[in-house]
């Protein structure tokens, strides 16, 4: 194998370290969410609110009384309209409420931690000079599956958690379930899945060619 140039080694090391950095950041995110879920007192529970979302209409299902205070804000020459979302905060959540508040983003962070870990392993094989191995094809496939699951399930899980939070309260009518999967994430997962299949096929072909004289 030809000796790799210093910039090639530098680039590979940089990529691996960057991926590792993101892996650490997401891992810290998981820890922070866990800490918030377990340790937070009432006040910090308000940091994760419930988005009162729904389409692009400016909250058409709210009574006039609800929306009266959410009019237009004039800031300098710009007119900024408060969008179709508002946040419902829970000032003193119990543990169950904290699980419902922090659980969905925690799951998202966990998925990203696993994805970054897999990407880090792939980058490590690149640094060692042999990334075209079947294991990396499987890692790409797993990444595609995880990202696909995230794209399909993130919003429903969040919405179900939100509904459970406000069930039986006056705020229940404000939370509307609008499920529209993020097609960009799904598309990215499909692309990654296709790349995984190509990668695995390439690794098999290379294995067949190895030892050919």
């Amino acid at each position: 194998m030809a000796e790799r140039s210093w910039w090639s080694r530098l680039g590979n090391g940089l990529v691996e370290n960057l991926v590792y950095l993101f892996f650490c950041l997401f891992a810290i995110g998981v820890l922070l969410h866990l800490a918030a879920m377990v340790l937070s007192n009432g006040s910090s529970g308000t940091s994760e609110g419930i988005a009162l979302a729904g389409g692009h209409d400016p909250m058409p299902w709210l009574d006039r009384g609800d929306s009266a205070e959410w009019g237009l804000q004039r800031i300098g020459p710009l007119v900024v309209e408060l969008g179709p979302q508002a946040r419902l905060s829970i000032p003193d959540p119990g543990f169950g409420q904290r699980v419902l508040l922090f659980g969905p983003p925690l799951l998202g962070h966990l998925i990203m931690v696993v994805v970054m870990f897999l990407l880090w392993r792939i980058a490590a094989t690149q640094r060692r000079g042999d990334p075209f191995i079947p294991a990396n094809g499987r890692r790409l496939g797993l990444m595609a599956a995880l990202i696909g699951v995230y794209g399909l399930a993130a919003d429903p899980v969040k919405d179900l958690a939100d509904r459970a939070l406000v069930a039986g309260t006056a705020a229940a009518r404000l939370v509307r379930f609008d499920y529209l999967p993020d097609l960009r994430i799904i598309g990215f997962a499909l692309l990654l899945g296709a790349l995984s299949a190509i990668f695995r096929r390439g690794a098999v072909l290379r294995r067949d060619v190895e030892g050919l004289v």
């Binding site: 294995r207 067949d208 060619v209 190895e210 030892g211 050919l212 004289v213």
Partner: protein, 73 residues
């Protein structure tokens, strides 16, 4: 076929080279294959051989493919 599946092909390059008083390096030069690859073939570590390589070896050693390879189950 899985690449690491067992086979029973035996390569007789050693004997042929001895009989002709030729070194592996000389054969590699005549055939146009690297010494490393030819060594892999000689030591039975090759998984496959191109027809072009086989043909070139046969020409260089003035033999038939059956003289180079045999199946020993």
């Amino acid at each position: 076929m899985p690449a690491d599946e067992e086979h029973h092909i035996v390569v007789h390059l050693d004997r042929l080279l001895d009989e002709r008083g030729m070194t592996l390096t000389e054969l590699a030069e005549k055939v146009g294959v690297t010494l490393a690859n030819l060594s892999i073939l000689k030591n039975g570590r090759a998984r496959a051989i191109r027809f072009s390589t086989l043909s070139a070896i046969c020409t260089a050693l003035d033999c038939q493919p059956g003289d180079i390879l045999s199946n020993a189950p």
